[in-house]
Symmetry: C2
Subunit: 341 residues, 2 copies
C-alpha cells in the first residue's frame, strides 16, 4: 500500500481508485449479513446474480423489520438467517450441501454481545431452522453446544419445526454429490490410475451469517451452514464454534465468518478479531483485515468475516474472489455486493 | 492487593504469607498437567489423596519420558493424558461420568503451538483414548473436529483401540448417576412437591489436560473429558473446543482448562489468555488470573486453567476450592498439588 499512498500524495492516482474495489465500510448500520464465498465469478449467471441480490435484500429487510418493531439484535440476526436458511440458493437449511453419506448435516450458532450468552447445534438433520435451535439452546437450556440426536430431541421438545430430512434436498446440491461419488468410484476402480484426487470444481462455502446492533446498543451475531460438500466422518466446521465462526462482545464487535472452517477454528478468527479490537485498539476493519489477509491467507485458509462494531460501522474482509454480503442502515439504506464492486 | 503491598512496604506482613497459598509459578518446566477441579476438600480421604498424587506423578513421568527420548511436545501431552484417561480416578477415558442416558460420551482436543494445527473429537463412546483420536484427526485427516459415529469410524479406520462401551464403567460414577436418576424420579412423582431441583452434592469437573514444551521450543496442549455427570442432549463442553478448553501458540503459551464448560466456551478462555499475553504483553500468570478470577468468577463460571509459556514458566489459576495439578521441570523435579498448598 505504501507505493499507492506515495502516488496519491504526489497526485498521480485519483482518489476514486481506492474506493472502487474493496472498501466495504458502511456507517450507521443496524444489520449486516453474508451468504458465503459463493461461486467463482466466471460461473455466475445474470439470473443467479439477480436472485442472490434479491435474497440478501429480503434478508436485510426481514431483520430490519424486527428491529423497527422493537426487537433486539438477536431477533434481527435470527430473522435474517432464517430467511437465508429457507432459501435453496445458499448452503444453510434448505439447500444445504450433501455429506459423503448423502445426508444434510447442519450446524449453527448465535451469540449475545451484551451477556456473552451463546448457543449452538452441530450435526443436526431434521431441524428446519438450525439458527432458531441455536437460540433455543442459548435461552432454554443451561448449555451452549448440543450435537446430533441430542440436539434434535431438545429442539423437538422445544416445539421447533421438525422436518423430514428430504426437506433439505435440492437438485443442484444432489448433482454436486453425484459428481463426487462418481469420482470416488473411478478412483477405486483404477487405484493406480492417473485419476486426480477429488477436487471440487468450485468449493462453495455458502455459509450464511448475520451481525446486528439494536437501539439499546447491544450487538449479536449468528452463523448457519450445511458445511462442506462431501464432508466425511461427522466433520464439524467453524460455524457452530463460538470464537471461530461466531463471536459477539458489546465491548468490541459482532462477527460472523465463512470459509475453510478448519482454519477458522485453529485461528479462533471471530474471537481473534474481537481481541485485537479490545487489546490492540484496532478498528474492526484493521483487525478483520489482519486476521483474514495477514494470518489466514499465508496459511492457505480461504474465507471471510463480516463484522459490526458498537458504533454501527459495518465491515467485511475476504481473501476469496468474492463474498455474498450486504448491510442495511438505520435509515433503511441497503447495500448488497457479491464480489469486488 | 494494594493494601497488602502497602502493609508489606511498611513491614507489617511477613513476605511468606504471599507465598503460602496460591503461588503456582514454577520455572524451567517441560510438562504441566491437571486432573480437574475434583472433590471438595472435606470429601477428600487420605487414601484418595495419595492415589491422586501418585497418578499425577506417574503421568508427569510418562510425558517427561517421551521428551527425554527425543519426542516432541505433542508426544508428551498425549502420553500424560493417555495415562490419566486409563485411570478410573479421573473423569476422562476409563472412569468418565455417565450421561443422563447412562452412557459415557467422551470429548478431547489437542493443539500444536508451532503450526496451530489442531484436532478434536466429541461425543465418542467406543474410543479407548480420545486424546489419541484427537491427534489422529489433526495429523491424519484434513479436519479439526469430528463428532459421534463419524469420529468413531475414522478412529477405527486409523487402527486406534476400540473398546466395548462397558470398558468405561466404574462403580463410583455409576453410583453418581443412580443418585441423579433417583432424584429425577422423585421430582416426577411429586411435580408440585418441595423436592429441590437436582443439584449435585459435589460437581466434579474432573477433566484432564496437559501442556508441554519440547527441546525445539515448541509448545503443545491437550484436554480430555467425560463431561458433566448427568449431561443431556448431546451436550458438549469446552474440552474439544479449540480456543475454549485448549489452545497453543508458540508466540505465547499452551493452555488447558477445566470447569463449567459453557463459561469456558463463551469466554473463549484458552484463546483469551493467549490474546492477552500477545496483545497486552501480560505474563501467563496475569492473563490467566484475569480470565479465571476477574472475568469468569463474577459471571459465575467455576473453573481453572493451567498454562506453560514459551520460556518454560508454568502457572495455574483456579476460582474453585482446588485443582488437581502438577508439573515437572527439565531436571525432573516434580511438584503436585490438589488444593491451595
Amino acid at each position: 500500500m505504501r507505493w499507492l499512498l506515495t502516488l496519491l500524495a504526489i497526485g498521480l492516482v485519483p482518489m476514486t481508485i481506492l474506493h472502487a474495489a474493496s472498501d466495504d465500510t458502511v456507517e450507521h448500520v443496524v444489520l449486516g449479513i453474508h451468504g458465503g464465498i459463493g461461486l467463482e465469478k466466471k460461473d455466475m449467471t445474470p439470473d443467479l446474480d439477480r436472485q442472490l441480490r434479491e435474497l440478501l435484500t429480503a434478508a436485510l429487510h426481514a431483520g430490519k423489520a424486527k428491529l423497527d418493531a422493537g426487537g433486539n439484535s438477536l431477533d434481527a440476526v435470527e430473522a435474517a438467517i432464517r430467511l437465508m436458511e429457507d432459501s435453496p440458493l445458499l448452503n444453510a437449511g434448505k439447500g444445504a450441501v450433501f455429506t459423503r453419506e448423502g445426508r444434510n448435516e447442519l450446524d449453527a450458532s448465535i451469540m449475545d454481545g451484551r451477556t456473552k450468552a451463546a448457543g449452538a447445534v452441530a450435526g443436526v438433520t431434521v431441524i428446519k431452522n438450525p439458527i432458531t435451535a441455536a437460540r433455543a439452546v442459548m435461552e432454554k437450556s443451561k448449555h451452549v453446544l448440543l450435537i446430533g440426536r441430542g440436539a434434535e430431541i431438545f429442539a423437538t421438545k422445544q416445539g421447533l419445526d421438525i422436518v423430514d430430512p428430504a426437506y433439505f434436498w435440492t437438485e443442484h446440491r444432489w448433482q454436486a454429490i453425484q459428481e463426487i461419488w462418481k469420482q470416488d468410484a473411478e478412483q477405486k476402480a483404477q487405484p493406480q490410475s492417473s485419476v486426480a484426487p477429488w477436487k471440487s470444481k468450485h468449493i462453495e462455502y455458502g455459509t450464511v451469517g448475520a451481525v446486528a446492533l439494536d437501539q439499546a446498543g447491544n450487538l449479536a451475531a449468528g452463523t448457519s451452514t450445511g458445511g462442506m460438500t462431501g464432508k466425511l466422518y461427522g466433520r464439524v466446521g467453524d460455524s457452530p464454534i463460538i470464537s471461530a465462526g461466531t463471536y459477539a462482545d458489546n465491548a468490541a464487535a459482532a462477527i460472523s465468518c465463512t470459509g475453510h472452517g478448519e482454519f477458522f477454528i485453529r485461528y479462533a478468527v471471530s474471537h481473534e478479531i474481537v481481541s485485537q479490537m479490545k487489546y490492540l485498539k484496532r478498528s474492526l476493519k484493521a483487525a478483520a483485515d489482519d486476521v483474514i489477509n495477514q494470518q489466514l491467507k499465508p496459511a492457505g485458509g480461504e474465507g471471510a468475516a463480516i463484522g459490526l462494531d458498537k458504533s454501527g460501522k459495518f465491515d467485511a474482509a475476504y481473501n476469496s474472489e468474492g463474498l455474498y454480503r450486504g448491510c442495511i442502515t438505520k435509515e433503511g439504506k441497503v447495500r448488497v455486493r457479491l464480489y469486488e464492486e
